[in-house]
C-alpha cells in the first residue's frame, strides 16, 4: 500500500525523536492521574464506603475523561494543523511540493491525515485508561467505539479548519489564532443562535406555551461538535442525576426530546448529524484549501 508521502515523512520525523514519546507518556500519566484522583477523592477506593466501586461513580469518571479528551482534541489539533502550510512556507519547501505532480488536494489531504494520525495515536494510547471504568460497569463498549469514530471525524473537521487557515495566512501565529476563533464560532455559535431563537419565540413573540421539539434544537445546533458530543455523555446514569450541572441538563433535555420523537428525526442522533456536517464541511474546506494553494491560481 502506498502511503501519502507527506503523512509518511511527518510520522517518521515526529515519531523518531524522544519528544513524541515523552509527550505521549505525559498525556497517559495525566489521564491516569485524573482518574486516580477522582476515584480517591470520592472514596471509591475505600472499602465499605457508600461510593466504593459504584458503577455510577465510574460513569462520572468516564464522563470526566471523555470531556477532557474532547477539549484536548480542540486544543491540540489546531496547533498541529494551523502551522502545517505556513511552516512549509517559512521553510521555503512549499514551492518544492507544488512543483511536483502531486496535486494540491493531495498535499492538503496529507496534512489533514498527519493530524488525524496523531489524534488516533493519542486516542488508542488512552484506551487502557478509559478501559479502567469497565471494571465498574455502567459504560457500554459500543458507545466507546462510536465515541472513537466521532473523535476521528471531529478531528478530521478540526484539522481541515486548521489547514484551511494555514493556507489563508502567511504567519503561524495568525493562522493558529484564526483557527481557534473559527472553531469557537462553529462550536459555540450555534448555542448562542439557539438561545436567541428561544428568547425571540418566548419573550418577543409572546409565544405562550412554547414547547421546543428536537427539531427546534437540531436545526441550529447541528454544526456544533458539542451538540454531537452530547450523544456520548452519560447524563442519565450519573451519580448526581440530571440536574446536577447545566451541561447535564442540556444533555438530558436533548435525550428526552429524542425519546419523544416519533418521526424520522428520531434517527438523527446528535453525533450522527454533527458527523455528517463535519464530513461535508471537511471536504469543502479541503477543496477550498487546495484551490487557495493551487499555484496557477496564486497571484503572488
Amino acid at each position: 500500500m502506498r502511503i501519502n508521502p507527506i503523512l509518511k515523512k511527518d510520522l517518521k520525523t515526529k515519531l523518531r525523536g524522544w519528544r513524541t514519546m515523552v509527550l505521549l507518556c505525559c498525556y497517559i500519566l495525566l489521564l491516569s492521574a485524573i482518574l486516580f484522583l477522582y476515584f480517591a477523592g470520592n472514596n471509591m477506593l475505600v472499602p465499605y464506603s457508600s461510593t466504593a466501586y459504584s458503577p455510577r461513580m465510574a460513569v462520572d469518571a468516564y464522563n470526566l475523561l471523555i470531556v477532557f479528551q474532547f477539549a484536548l482534541l480542540f486544543l491540540a489539533v489546531p496547533a498541529i494543523t494551523a502551522t502545517s502550510i505556513t511552516s512549509e512556507r517559512e521553510r521555503q519547501t512549499l514551492d518544492l511540493m507544488l512543483v511536483t505532480k502531486t496535486s494540491s488536494v493531495r498535499i492538503v489531504f496529507g496534512k489533514v491525515m498527519v493530524s488525524i494520525a496523531h489524534t488516533m495515536l493519542l486516542l488508542i494510547a488512552s484506551m487502557p485508561v478509559l478501559g479502567v471504568v469497565f471494571f465498574f460497569g455502567g459504560v457500554n463498549f459500543a458507545d466507546i467505539a462510536k465515541l472513537l469514530l466521532f473523535y476521528v471525524i471531529t478531528s478530521f473537521f478540526v484539522a481541515s479548519c486548521g489547514v484551511f487557515c494555514s493556507t489563508l495566512f502567511k504567519r503561524n501565529i495568525v493562522a493558529i489564532i484564526t483557527t481557534y476563533i473559527l472553531l469557537g464560532i462553529i462550536t459555540f455559535g450555534p448555542f448562542i443562535v439557539l438561545l436567541i431563537s428561544v428568547y425571540v419565540k418566548e419573550l418577543v413573540l409572546r409565544n405562550v406555551g412554547f414547547n421546543p421539539t428536537y427539531g427546534d434544537f437540531l436545526k441550529p445546533l447541528f454544526p456544533s461538535s458539542i451538540f454531537g458530543f452530547t450523544s456520548f455523555y452519560y447524563s442519565g446514569s450519573s451519580m448526581y442525576g440530571y440536574g446536577y450541572s447545566l451541561w447535564g441538563s442540556v444533555c438530558q433535555e436533548i435525550e428526552s426530546q429524542i425519546a419523544r420523537e416519533t418521526g424520522i428525526l428520531r434517527f438523527f442522533k446528535p453525533w450522527i448529524v454533527n458527523s455528517v456536517f463535519n464530513i461535508v464541511g471537511s471536504i469543502l474546506l479541503i477543496l477550498l484549501s487546495a484551490a487557495k494553494l493551487n499555484p496557477v491560481r496564486r497571484k503572488k
Binding site: T93, L96, S103, P295, V296
Partner: protein, 312 residues
C-alpha cells in the same frame, strides 16, 4: 521546441515584473538567463514552472499549456529555486524518497534513482547523514538531485551557484556539464556571466522585465563585438583630437591615459568608421585605432544600461 513563452506579462499591482516577454528554448539547449537583481528572472522562471499565474501571456512546455495542464507539465519539469528548501530533520535518502513519493516514484525504483543521483552529485558518502549536517554546497547539490528524481527532460535552475564558495561553484559547474551531456534542456539563471558563457548554448538577457537580447552565445557576441570603447593613439595634436571627438554627437566620453585616448561611443560598430574618418579628414595622425573586444559581461552591461533594443 521544449519551451515557448508568448507575450508573458506579470504585474504586481503597480509594478510590472515581466513585460511582454517572448522566448523559445529548443530541446537539448542550455539556456542562460541573465539579468540584474529584480529584472524579472525569478518571476519568469516561477511562471514557467507553474508556480505563479501570469497576468497575461502563455507558456508551453513540450507543447503543453502550463496554465491549463500544470500537473502534466510538472512530469517533464524539474525546478531548483534560489533557496535550499530542505527539511533538517530528514536524512539524505529520506529526503530523496519523500520527493520521489511526491513525484509518484516509490520503493525499489525510488532507491535506485536516489543512489544514481547521489552519485551524480557526489553525495553517496552522505547518504545516511542528516540534511542539516551538510555544507551549503552539499545542500545545493542535494537540491539539484531532488529536482532530478523523476528524470525530467527540462530543468529550471534559479541561481544554482549563488552563495557558494569557489570550490563548490566548480563542482556545481561540473555537474551541470554532466547534465548537458545527458541531453537535458536547462534554463539557468546566474549573475556569473563568464560561467554561463562557458556552459550555455544560448543566452537571454532580461532587463526591467523585458528580454533585451536572445540568441546563441556566439550570435550575441558577434552582434555586439565591441564594448563601446575605442583606444586611439595619435602621434601628435592630442588636444585637438580630443576637441574633434567631443564635438561628435556619437561620442559620449573621452579620456586620455598617457598617450592613449579612450573614447566611449554611443552606438554600434558602424559609428567606429565614422569616428576614424572624422579624425583622418581633420589630418590627425592616427597611429592606432583599437576597438575594445566585447565580452558577455560588457554586452550585458551595455544592454541593461540601454535597456531598449531587442536583439531577437
Amino acid at each position: 521546441m521544449m519551451v515557448t513563452v508568448e507575450n508573458l506579462t506579470k504585474r504586481y499591482r503597480k509594478t510590472l515584473a515581466v513585460d511582454k516577454l517572448s522566448m523559445e528554448i529548443p530541446e537539448g539547449e542550455i539556456y542562460g538567463f541573465v539579468g540584474a537583481n529584480g529584472a524579472g528572472k525569478t518571476t519568469t522562471m516561477r511562471i514557467i514552472a507553474g508556480l505563479l499565474a501570469p497576468t497575461s501571456g502563455k507558456v508551453f512546455v513540450e507543447g503543453i499549456d502550463v496554465s491549463k495542464e500544470p500537473l502534466k507539465v510538472k512530469e517533464h519539469l524539474g525546478y531548483m529555486p534560489d533557496f535550499f528548501g530542505v527539511y533538517d530533520d530528514l536524512k539524505v535518502t529520506e529526503y530523496m524518497s519523500f520527493y520521489g513519493g511526491l513525484q509518484g516514484i516509490y520503493g525499489a525504483r525510488s532507491d535506485e534513482l536516489t543512489d544514481s543521483l547521489l552519485e551524480l552529485v557526489k553525495l553517496t558518502d552522505k547518504k545516511e547523514a542528516y540534511v542539516d549536517s551538510l555544507s551549503r554546497g552539499m545542500k545545493q547539490r542535494l537540491c539539484l538531485a531532488r529536482s532530478l528524481i523523476h528524470d525530467p527532460k527540462f530543468l529550471i535552475l534559479d541561481e544554482p551557484a549563488s552563495g557558494l564558495d569557489p570550490r563548490a561553484r566548480v563542482e556545481m559547474r561540473e555537474i551541470l556539464k554532466e547534465l548537458r551531456t545527458m541531453g537535458k534542456t536547462v534554463l539557468i539563471s546566474s549573475h556569473i556571466l563568464t560561467e554561463l558563457s562557458e556552459l550555455c548554448t544560448s543566452i537571454g538577457i532580461i532587463d526591467d522585465g523585458r528580454l533585451v537580447a536572445s540568441g546563441s552565445v556566439s550570435q550575441i557576441l558577434e552582434k555586439m563585438t565591441h564594448s563601446g570603447m575605442i583606444r586611439i593613439k595619435v602621434l601628435e595634436r592630442q588636444d585637438e583630437a580630443v576637441k574633434i571627438l567631443l564635438e561628435m554627437p556619437e561620442v559620449s566620453e573621452v579620456s586620455s591615459v598617457s598617450d592613449i585616448l579612450e573614447v566611449k561611443i554611443k552606438g554600434r560598430e558602424e559609428l567606429f568608421a565614422k569616428v576614424l574618418k572624422e579624425l583622418v579628414d581633420k589630418d590627425i595622425p592616427v597611429v592606432s585605432f583599437h576597438p575594445e573586444e566585447g565580452s558577455l559581461e560588457s554586452v550585458f552591461m551595455q544592454l541593461t544600461e540601454r535597456g531598449t533594443e531587442n536583439e531577437n
